[in-house]
């Protein structure tokens, strides 16, 4: 596959160009209307229109095939497009709740929209980055926008603390990751992921002595990259910032944090490890380069992530902290698909991510609605919600049961695919991972049920009915409908699953065409034409 030069690449870069133009437009529009009472409206409208355009342009790329653009810096392939659409849709829906949010600084809201768009842009670039430099730059872009947004809320005394913690953790994590990337560059002499795999495949044949001499440095580099990206997706040893940041950040922003950086982080994790550090075989399975045990690292991380996330959530009374731990746990579930080293696992991961985005955003949006109406984001705030606002309470119930993974809801189907993918692989470790996940699912029922109990079985402190603004209520109900429909409507499920399957096409990685019969053939395999 040829890589295009800069000027030829632009036509493949339309979604990102549109998003950059939107960002600049939001800044400029905000300057023009500065000081007016209605200054938030133009910024919100421009952002929403821009994001809709981005989604349409990304959609057109879905069937356009694969292309490596800007000298191999970024990839346009179904995998990237899947994440671009996910990020654009998540950001667009979060705008509904960002609009007129009383948690933001009143007269700085235009910049907030632009920063949200920067986060979306860098998330999209992260999903399509095919070069270590772009990976790092996009990761920093997501981080910088997140740092500012985390500290945005003026009334919350925890906001500055959250932002500061986020910055310090983020600085350390990205420094460690950068050091790991420098190891990879030192070994392979390239930043391009495709080229990197090609060179790593020829380790044994090079005049370097045994290829095992590289195992140590490659494993440490992989571990350091896991630190950097694991921090971004809040996987367990690097999750400490997550509850504090979600609690301190404005709730619509916390909702975005739980989807956009995590999706982008998982995307870059998949591209880095599957495109850079493994071979594909024609049977839809992957083999790690040098048989490096990075899969074992991820198995441990996945088990630890879901366990810590679920058990810590049991003691939370703040809804945002509870959902933060719940989102940590769900990254653990999703990582199970990563461990499988096969197409079935990756496809289950992507499916779960799409479902998770819907149900988790929905749950956060319910918290936003309750918080705006009652001023409380504690478990006490939702007491008696079943009588105060039956519609929101019903939607919240759908999201929570789906997050548990109970049958008639979308979360169950997502978990089913994940568990099935892991069980397909023979081996006691895979079985153990599924057992851990199943126990965790049971534990998670406890804390999700705590919210249900507060909503339906306890009396409200203030029994007056609350009113959620029409647009927000509509969005919550639409999300709940999707969660419900994707739980049992087979054509819908197979359509999303088909998209997840179809998304497993990477630039410069033609494992589908490869006729690789055995492991012995792998190291000599050429870059796909």
């Amino acid at each position: 596959m040829d890589t295009l030069t800069a000027s030829q690449s632009l036509i493949w870069f339309q979604p990102e160009l549109a998003l950059v133009a939107t960002i600049v437009a939001v800044f400029l529009v905000d300057l023009v209307v500065a000081g007016r009472a209605w200054r938030e409206i133009p910024a919100a409208v421009v952002s929403a229109l821009g994001l809709a355009l981005v989604a349409v342009l990304s959609w057109q790329q879905w069937s356009a095939g694969t292309q490596s653009i800007f000298q191999g810096m970024a990839a346009v392939d179904p995998f990237a497009v899947f994440f671009k659409l996910l990020i654009a849709a998540a950001t667009l829906s979060a705008l509904i709740f960002l609009f007129r949010s009383n948690e933001m600084i009143g007269d700085a809201s235009g910049e907030a929209y632009a920063l949200v768009l920067v986060m979306a842009l860098c998330g999209m670039l992260l999903a399509s980055a095919n070069n270590l430099l772009m990976v790092y730059l996009a990761l920093e872009g997501v981080s910088i926008a997140s740092y500012v947004l985390a500290g945005y809320s003026r009334r919350n005394p925890r906001a500055s603390e959250a932002a500061l913690k986020y910055v310090i953790y983020g600085g350390v994590a990205s420094g460690v990751m950068l050091f790991g990337l420098s190891y990879l560059y030192g070994v392979t002499g390239t930043l391009d992921l495709t080229l990197m795999r090609e060179r790593l495949s020829s380790l044994a044949s090079a005049s370097t002595g045994p290829a095992t001499a590289f195992n140590g440095v490659l494993l440490v580099a992989a571990a350091f990259v896991i630190v950097g990206i694991g921090y971004k997706v809040a996987a367990v040893p690097f999750h400490m910032w997550c509850p504090d940041v979600y609690e301190g950040a404005p709730t619509p922003i916390a909702a975005l944090f739980s989807v956009v950086p995590k999706a982008a982080g998982l995307a870059v994790l998949i591209r880095f490890f599957y495109v850079g550090l493994s071979y594909g075989t024609s049977g839809g399975e992957f083999i790690a380069i040098q048989s490096l045990p990075w899969v074992a690292l991820f198995g441990i991380v996945a088990a630890a992530t879901m366990t810590v996330g679920n058990f810590a959530a049991c003691w939370q009374t703040n809804l945002k902290r509870l959902l933060a731990y719940s989102s940590i746990a769900h990254v653990g579930y999703a990582l199970m698909g990563f461990v499988v080293l096969g197409e079935s696992g990756l496809s289950a991961l992507l499916y779960y991510l799409a479902i998770y985005a819907v149900m988790n955003l929905g749950a956060f949006f319910c918290v936003v609605a309750v918080r705006n109406a009652t001023g409380s984001e504690d478990l006490d705030g939702v007491r008696g919600l079943g009588t105060r606002d039956p519609l929101t309470a019903a939607a919240f119930t759908v999201f929570l049961l789906s997050l548990v993974g109970l049958p008639p809801f979308a979360g169950f189907v997502g978990k089913y695919f994940l568990f099935a993918a892991v069980l397909e692989r023979a081996g006691a470790w895979y079985d153990a991972l599924v057992v851990v996940a199943a126990v965790n699912t049971a534990v998670s029922l406890f804390f999700y049920a705590k919210i249900l109990k507060a909503m339906y079985l306890t009396k409200a402190v203030d029994p007056l009915p609350i009113r959620v603004p029409g647009g927000q209520l509509l969005a919550v109900l639409v999300f709940a409908a999707i969660t419900l429909v994707l739980g049992f409507w087979a054509p819908g499920i197979s359509r999303v699953k088909g998209a997840a399957d179809g998304a497993l096409v990477f630039v410069g990685y033609g494992y589908r065409d490869a006729q690789v019969a055995s492991l012995a053939d792998c190291p000599g395999r050429d870059r796909n034409p």
Binding site: L115, G141, R158, A159, T190
Partner: protein, 197 residues
């Protein structure tokens, strides 16, 4: 380093090697001073040493443009800004740590493990042999100007990162303004809530 100091290794030393070790010593000393300096002003000057040492190492690997940029931007700009910030902050000496747990033992263990790991890896890995032509080593790096090639590369191969960096920097710039403005407003309105360290 003493462990390696057998006769053959010593005999192979050139003047440039000695210079390199001197420069590396400056950089490491500076970094240590940053980390362990009790006075924040000393730490800032330690940073000066560390950044200068790194700039000198860039010269060693024939990266002249990067060395100059390091001098201009980091030492000339960032460091001076840091010093200004320290000098202009009133009562900076009175700052108290609210969290007194230092975790010296676990921190020390992790430090020693990482140190051993990185030293071991840097000595045992056959660096740069995979790429075919190998990476340039300190000794054969020819001193030739690189600015033209870097300029070319920035506008051809690395155009996308170059442009995206501007978006990221724009976000950082505006973010800094937002955060600073918020602090100012808190001060003028009496400063109570939201101003926790």
């Amino acid at each position: 380093m003493q462990g390696l100091a057998d006769a053959g290794w010593l005999a192979g030393l050139r003047l440039s090697d000695l210079l390199f070790y001197a420069v590396a010593l400056v950089a490491v000393t500076g970094a240590l001073a940053v980390a362990f300096g009790r006075n924040i002003v000393y730490s800032a000057f330690g940073l000066l040493l560390a950044l200068f040492g790194v700039a000198a190492i860039y010269v060693f690997i024939s990266a002249d443009l990067v060395a100059v940029v390091q001098l201009l931007v980091y030492i000339g700009g960032v460091l001076v800004l840091i010093l200004f910030a320290i000098m202009l902050t009133s009562k900076i000496g009175d700052a108290r740590r609210s969290n007194l747990t230092l975790a010296l033992v676990p921190g020390g263990v992790i430090f020693l493990l990482l140190l051993g790991l990185t030293v071991f890896l840097s000595l045992t890995t056959p660096w740069g042999t995979v790429a075919g032509r190998g990476l340039p080593t300190l000794r054969d790096a020819a001193l030739e100007p690189t600015s033209e090639r870097i300029g070319d590369a920035l506008l051809t191969d690395f155009l996308l990162p170059f442009e995206i960096a501007s978006v990221v920097l724009l976000a950082a710039l505006i973010g800094a303004v937002i955060i600073a403005r918020k602090e100012m407003r808190l001060l003028t309105t009496g400063g109570g809530q939201g101003n926790r360290p």
